[in-house]
């Protein structure tokens, strides 16, 4: 499989009244063609910001990418300006994004067909009539009944599930190399969510598109994803294939996370404490205050880089890594 995207050392900051929030801190990962990547972690850990940074959609001010590179198909995207022509061509054309909120992510004052068609006219330069035709076609592919009529509806006339299907369809229109789905199904009902996930899964398989799934639902990760990155407080703290990670979580956070999911007959063991603030984080391990494995050295040394453990498995837990090397 071809390497599609390589993110290295990505760091994004927000200047806020409270101080500088390092929302994404030295994040590196890669995506291969046709691969489904999961990005998990609790709310506020920087999942969305890391993905928006790749797309250069960070609201500026207050946000700013301060370091790192994003190499996509051999080009370093961060070299292009936010509003540069190159970046515009990539957004929506080569990489597209589906956002969490189906209610607010569509322009309320435009028919869905125009909103979809816009991507086509923008990137493929085709005329409006054809754009409409293709949009309607896509609508039927994503399972909207009577797409010809629905195309002229405004977003508020569709249910949440349908709107999110429109978003998914829109992201597929230009046949991009990669789709980033930022909690694309979180806001939906359980049964509708399943419907939509299945649809996306089929579509990316069909077009051999890479998919980055941002979510905090471990069940979804378990079901669809090949490789998963676990984020905590702006850093990727562990990464590996799903099976590997589930079978053998290295980082105490990952471990804790897996124990938080109610399972029949098992008592929940919550991770004690609260997620940390991202302001003025010391370079030590962000999970330190909550960590049950912490050692004295953890307080003194900066957090290690994401280090290879075995196979596709990487972690940043010093104790585990050192424990390993000790062995």
């Amino acid at each position: 499989m071809e390497r599609l995207l390589t993110v290295s050392g990505l760091t994004t900051e927000f200047r806020t009244e409270r101080g500088t929030v390092k929302a994404v801190n030295d994040v590196s990962y890669h995506v291969d063609e046709g691969e489904i990547i999961g990005l998990v972690g609790e709310s506020g850990c920087g999942k969305s910001v890391s993905q928006l940074s790749v797309m250069q959609l960070i609201p500026n001010p207050p946000g700013k990418i301060v370091a790192g590179s994003v190499e996509f198909e051999g080009q370093d995207l961060l070299r292009y300006g936010r509003e540069s022509r190159e970046m515009c061509a990539i957004r929506g054309g080569r990489i597209s994004m589906v956002f969490q909120e189906p209610m607010t992510s569509l322009n309320p004052a435009m028919t869905i067909c125009r909103q979809m068609g816009e991507v086509l006219t923008e990137h493929l330069g085709i005329d409006k009539a054809e754009a409409r035709e293709r949009s309607v076609d896509m609508l039927s592919q994503v399972g909207i009944p009577d797409p010809g009529k629905r195309a002229d509806d405004y977003p508020h006339q569709l249910s949440g599930g349908m709107r999110q299907r429109v978003m998914v369809g829109m992201s597929m229109l230009c046949n991009p190399k990669m789709i980033i789905a930022d909690e694309a199904t979180t806001a939906l009902d359980a049964t509708i969510q399943a419907q939509l996930l299945e649809l996306m899964y089929e579509m990316v398989n069909k077009y051999h598109t890479a998919l980055v799934m941002v979510t905090h639902n471990l069940g979804i990760v378990a079901r669809y994803v090949h490789r998963v990155n676990v984020m905590y407080a702006g850093r990727i703290i562990e990464s590996g294939t799903v099976r590997e990670l589930w079978a053998n979580p290295m980082h105490p956070y990952t471990e804790g996370l897996l124990k938080c999911v109610p399972k029949l007959g098992e008592r929940l063991v919550p991770i004690k404490g609260m997620p940390p603030s991202l302001i003025n984080r010391p370079p030590t391990c962000p999970f330190l205050p909550r960590c049950r494995l912490r050692q004295k050295s953890c307080f003194e040394e900066p957090v290690p880089e994401l280090t290879h453990v075995e196979g596709d498995h990487y972690t940043t837990c010093r104790v585990r890594l050192e424990g390993l090397t000790d062995d």
Partner: protein, 318 residues
Amino acid sequence: MLTYIVRRLIHAFVVIVIVSIAVFILIRLLPGDPIEMLISQTQLTETTPEMIEALRHDKGLDRPLPVQYADWFVQMIRGDFGTSIMRNFDIGKEIGNRVTVTLMIGLSAFVIGLVLGPILGIVSAVRRGKFVDNLVTVIANIGITAPAFWVGILLIFFFGVRLKLLPIYGYTLPWDDFWMSFKQSLMPIFVTALGPIATTARQTRSSVLEVMSEDYIRTAWAKGLNERKVILRHIIKNSLLPVVTLQGTMLRMVVGGSVVVETVFVIPGMGKMMVDAMLSHDYPVVQAVTVIMTLVVVLSSLIVDLLYGWLDPRIQYD
């Protein structure tokens, strides 16, 4: 849609009834009696109470208030606004002439505000924090911080008396003499438009800033649109929505401001008529002018709301 309009018209009617009752009562609370004022304007040094009573009877002011009101209101609905107590003219006809003039000035100012305000607002929002933004803020504020009569007279002295560029007073309807009308309208329209421009610009600015942080704008960026397209296609229409609702108030401001502007620039419109009638306690004139002005405001806000529905597909009328 039709039921909506009908409902709004009924609503408008209710508003008119309330306003007319309020004005009917308020104007009668003014100290001073129009009949006495009228009599003091005649050639007579000597007036008897009988003469005053006769005159009062003549003008219909001796009847019980509810009767007077009901009679006046019914006549008005039929399109007859009665006759001026003080000056004996047909109010309906006079208003007919004057409402055109007030609306010519008012609507032009309104339209200018509607065009310039959003442009300034968008520019300053898009370049927020920059020099342009501050410039627009200051300019927009000058427009609403200075008393209108004062701006008016400064303009008259500068452009009229000093530079002799523009006529100082008077008004010609555009279909009578377009060029003259244009020249005469410039200053009054400018003074009238200052408020709407400034208010609309401010409102647009904050509305654009708000829309810019909406999720669907992020979606638009994610589609790969460039800044120009994002602004033109996605931001403008959505940010104008709250601005449109503001326009109802704007017309109220413009129509009310005509009282001052028309006096300064000698424009024979409703505002001037209103002041004159107020000062001479010409009850039926004040009542009629207020009702017509209110009607203008009410109808225009109906139009604004319909426009709103056209702009915002989420609104449904039923």
